[in-house]
Symmetry: C2
Subunit: 129 residues, 2 copies
DNA sequence: TTTGTTGCAAAGGGTTTGCAGGAGA
DNA sequence: TCTCCTGCAAACCCTTTGCAACAAA
């Protein structure tokens, strides 16, 4: 894979962001090396294949992209107030899946957990008020 | 909310299906009372507001709809082979969330778990082969 | 020089909107 | 009769594709 200013730009933007971004947002943050939307889509596709990024579909039907910090199984925790997103390397769900397998008769092979809440900053902001 | 053949049709189709359906699929299964796509979208929006249905976005970017059997907190279990979907009324995840809260500093208020695997029918079919 | 990349414009396709006609109640 | 609902067509908008020009190696 060739090294281009656009590719570096996209990765730089993703690395600097603490939340998932749409292609529009990525483009806007690329500054000098800003590139067209198709280029960003095409590169993100490659990055995802390489395991460098992942995609998440919000309820607004728009694709968002995040840099993967860990290639291992992990979940995302999103602050409902400020939008910040944290990657949790740890998965405590596995045990409960055994119960679900018994209850349902399914053999569970994959799961995806989305978590929402209030980050510590927003919690203290809420208390202060 | 008025009673119309289209509304009854949509609910009938949803009730009869063992998996999430796209609007196209719903329309195709409505038979006599088939209606236009916009009508289906508009009605599903209402149904979701009423808690009668819910929406799920597949990785193909297409909205799918399922009838809610339970208004309580529940999760969905989808067979990766035949597409059948089961609603699980039971959630064993709550305990693990406490650990995640401690690890992350977040106060978790909501979660969404998507489960994938093999249903019992597909398991036996696999063994036979 | 070779071949992968980008940019632009246009196409694609699922979802939404506007509005006039139609049908519940 | 009075609203609410439906149908149609068009608009929307995010995403993908085609192709010629460009640039990394």
């Amino acid at each position: 894979m060739r090294q281009t200013p656009q590719r570096e730009g996209i990765l730089r933007v993703l690395n600097a962001s603490d939340r998932p971004l749409t292609v529009e947002e990525i483009s806007a943050r690329m500054g000098e090396d800003r590139s067209g939307l198709p280029t960003i889509y095409r590169n993100l596709e490659r990055f995802i294949l390489e395991g460098w990024a992942e995609t998440m579909l919000g309820q607004d039907q728009v694709m968002r992209f995040v840099r993967c910090n860990s290639k291992r199984h992990h979940h995302h925790l999103e602050c409902e107030k400020c939008g910040r997103m944290v990657e949790v390397d740890f998965c405590g769900v596995e045990d409960s899946l055994r119960q679900l397998e018994i209850a349902s008769g399914f053999q569970i092979t994959k799961h995806q957990l989305s978590l929402f809440g209030l980050c510590s900053d927003c919690q203290t902001a809420e208390k202060r008020h």
